[in-house]
Symmetry: C2
Subunit: 451 residues, 2 copies
Amino acid sequence: METTEIAIIGGSAAGLSAAAAVAKRWPDKRTTVIRKVDKTVVPCGIPYIYGTLGAVDKNLIPDAFLSKIGVNLIHDEIGSIDRAEKVLVRSDGRQLQYDKLILSTGSRPFVPPIDGVELENVFSIHKDPAYLQALYDALELARNVVVVGGGFIGVEMAEQIASMSAENGKKEIRLVEMLPHCLMMACEEEFCLVAEQELTRRGVQVMTNCQVKELRGSDRVEEVVLADGSVLPADVVIIGIGAAPNIDLAASAGLEVDARRGVLVDEYLRSSDNDIYAVGDCASKFSFLTGKPSGIRLASVAASEGVIAAGNLYGVPMRKTPGAVGAFATKVGKRSIAAAGLTSHAAAQEGIDVVVGAAVAPNMHPGSLPGAIADMKVKLLFRRDNGQLVGGHVCGGDSSAELANALAVAIQARQTVYDLSVMQFATHPLLTASPVQYQLMVAAENALIGA
Amino acid sequence: METTEIAIIGGSAAGLSAAAAVAKRWPDKRTTVIRKVDKTVVPCGIPYIYGTLGAVDKNLIPDAFLSKIGVNLIHDEIGSIDRAEKVLVRSDGRQLQYDKLILSTGSRPFVPPIDGVELENVFSIHKDPAYLQALYDALELARNVVVVGGGFIGVEMAEQIASMSAENGKKEIRLVEMLPHCLMMACEEEFCLVAEQELTRRGVQVMTNCQVKELRGSDRVEEVVLADGSVLPADVVIIGIGAAPNIDLAASAGLEVDARRGVLVDEYLRSSDNDIYAVGDCASKFSFLTGKPSGIRLASVAASEGVIAAGNLYGVPMRKTPGAVGAFATKVGKRSIAAAGLTSHAAAQEGIDVVVGAAVAPNMHPGSLPGAIADMKVKLLFRRDNGQLVGGHVCGGDSSAELANALAVAIQARQTVYDLSVMQFATHPLLTASPVQYQLMVAAENALIGA
């Protein structure tokens, strides 16, 4: 029987992070990653295949990454896990003995139970190069594209396909979102509006407060019917309305699972079997800020969980997850939007009373510098009862993501409005706001003063 | 007699931060900024006058900033302070009554006591538009430019003047630094080398381990003589080797001062007179990381101190300075370099035993994205005895500054290598490294493992 000491099922963000951390922590252990797909795509890079990159094969994670760190790779699907014997059963029945197992089986796109979703040219986002190539080919021929779902994936797909149209004749791109705004689950409403403006500027028709009722067509999709009865022409439909954890393998192995939350894990990321860990989209999570179960599925959480699980495999577990923070970034047109923690809306829903402070300044100083974005904004949410930072939102230039990471650190370090209002920050004319107007500091002071 | 309730002497980074914070905290108090120069330049923007901006008047802080927040502005020099009567005496003898006073008189460039520094066309960097215009005019005619001092100001000046030369005929620009490398006081040696490479690429001759012995010329400077006897031709010499606090006004008013450290202040930034505060370059500082007196004079510290002093003016002082962190950023050619806290060299000098962790990854993901910088590097220094982050260094794309600010927050929040190794960070293909390779997290894990 083939044997490995550490087996990792799945090779996307969580699995790769785990593999990298395992290779460093346990260099003497034989480690094997088993993954279904022949090649791995950069998951967050998928939208950019359809615009900036222009090809699926420019968005691959090279397998050399694994061989370089001494981790074996098996292209195969694991059919079942025999926990008693500590054996993985491969698609052809061959067995792989393991000592410790990390499940990073990810998630699958959620497809709504409406008529017509099985029609040709209806796609969702799978991390499979062949599937993504089929979408590419279909998009090249399409005149009318409907993207269903205005979350990150939908917004980024629509934005990128809009740039595709320039080369391939005019496409009509419609982005259909059920909620009042795109990105509403992650962003402050004012920044959702910025994203929608940028989409509109790039020729995307943003249709909010719209629910899809059914898809129509003979073999191939031809129309999207909305709840209000209106009909959109569609040569291609892309559905991006969320993801569900892949738990079938874990469930069939008798591990405790929850259809929505995923493989249930403790703070050490151990499943109900102490030799099996679960990380990334397939694993259950709780919120860093509320302690409640969390539906946040982000690469940032997956990457952190991979490292945590790797550290806990042998000996006394040393690392606990502090919970999912929800740190993310996106770029729509010329605007980058990034955040960490709660939105105002989420805070209200959780019953957390917040004090808000905001500050706007050019992203360079003086603002007359070429390329300056005049109104880079930071908005901070602090708990009223103890001043703790619970949400930070940034909208501006390309440095927004790293500025949000300063906020992510502040949230994770449980910093307060008192701390942030007098902190020192690196500034430079070409790279940041001026020291006097540095948004993070000024926003905190504004929150204190109630400005 | 004219009266004001809060007087602020000096209107650069510290004074403006104080004015902005005072206007918010004490909106009912009459506040007046008194400043010598007719117009205020953006201090950190000065080098960019000579390249990217192309004019002194594109680097001004508009006075509208003060009137908008309801703060009065007086263009004048204060000759003396009568502390007993709480009166400022203006240049023409007129008096201004104050209740609380904030000194933000800044620093003046240090000029070495060598022969020839008084010659025409020998400049240092003064925050005075007319002076900076005279330098501009001299540079336009110059063929041979020698910049003395390879700190931030020297490096940025040389880099910018190099772009000036393209339009005005070929200039020979020589940057003379006493130490083995440029930027050595602030940057890790490997990043100093990057800066030197970028300077060389832009046509600047970098001359390290070189000390200037004297300047020669009849009326106007003609030659720079080095300690080894070699002679450099020079039509313009720019001296940027540090700054000394402006303490004359404070000293003549009987406040406790130190010629090197500045106006001596306590943690609340109060001088030896409880109604007089001092902030920014003119005020004494201590190090956040060592508690010892610190020579760090940065806009980031000044901005923070302005806010701290403003909060303490009335009632029971509420804000203490935690000490100077030393957060900074610069850009040399295509590379941005930023940091917070100690260098390896400084840590060794302080007797702090550190564990170093580093990580390199492209600043976008996949690395095939247009504009990606393949080798954005983060280097972290942790105390060996307790794991505390004491230094963070970044070299890469333009987001380096905000990434260093994530490190600045981590240092100020006293985060450890254990905290950082599993933190969650916002990532995005166009804006950051991949979640799996995110440098800050990976560098912390590498430090833990000793990789």
